[in-house]
Amino acid sequence: MEIAIYLLFGILGAVIPYGLTRELAVEPVKASALPSLILALGFYFFPQIVSENLNFHIPVIFFGASFVGMVSKKILPYYLEVALAGILFSMLYLNASSFFNGYGGGLGTPACISVLSIYGLKKVKTLVRFFSVKKNSDAKN
């Protein structure tokens, strides 16, 4: 149940800044920082809404996923791809090693990895086409 909530907040955290940037032309920094600040302040002032564990992790996941949402629409043009990147970010965050806990920037790295992975997933088709064309041209030669 908790994992579903984390994944949901991962999706929301990625899609809300992306939507703000895309539809309302808010600049990425504000689109990422402002929703995270509002959510984190909400959880800070009303901690009794959810359990202690959720209260700690939800703002962090939302904040981290908002870095995913800063992606430009030239890189990931569809909301579904951004939502997938948000899910991937939540999974990476939940399963990451505790070795880098407390390092600054530890949230941005999984965000970058998830965006690059989804971008790579999009490019697999191009790569397959490239290899098939190369194979054909090699066969002709």
Binding site: A14, G102, G105, G108, A111
Partner: protein
């Protein structure tokens, strides 16, 4: 000591090699010094809010990001405000780290300097990718922690 110098020399050489490799025009540009200062200021402000005042990491970083978002568009030079905002937000991720060392503010300023240099150099790389700023912050913290570890412990 010699091993430390040798290791850090190799680290610097590898970084320079990679930077040259990924630069399109094969020239290292470090013109935007004000971005380095913005990264350091963002990092120190977030650290003060997080460690000094005891506010949670997410709130302090997001607050610095929002406040930094109101930097005027033409603040130091015409049309450079946008990159200043990005630099402050990048610096605010550095400040989210916990205090490992005795002189934490000094360490954060050093990490901000390293991240700022990487930020200036990588302006044209990974443009528009989400998580670039956070990764730069992580690189700065990791490199400066490594250098502090091999020279001062």
């Amino acid at each position: 000591m010699y091993a430390s110098v040798f290791t850090s020399a190799i680290l610097v050489l590898v970084s320079i090699g990679y930077l040259y490799l990924f630069q399109k025009d094969r020239k290292l540009k470090l013109g935007a010094w004000y971005l380095i200062i913005a990264v350091i200021l963002g990092a120190l402000a977030t650290t003060y809010l997080y460690i000094g005042l005891g506010i949670s990491a997410v709130i302090s970083s997001a607050l610095v990001g929002v406040l930094g978002g109101f930097v005027p568009k033409n603040f130091p030079f015409p049309h450079k405000g946008q990159s200043i905002r990005m630099a402050i937000y990048c610096g605010s991720f550095i400040g989210m780290g916990q205090a490992f060392l005795e002189h934490h503010y000094l360490f954060i300023a050093f990490a901000g300097l390293v991240s700022g240099i990487y930020f200036c150099i990588s302006t044209n790389q990974l443009k528009g990718f989400g998580g670039k700023l956070g990764t730069l912050a992580f690189v700065g913290v990791a490199v400066s922690y490594f250098l502090t570890y091999i020279f001062f412990t």
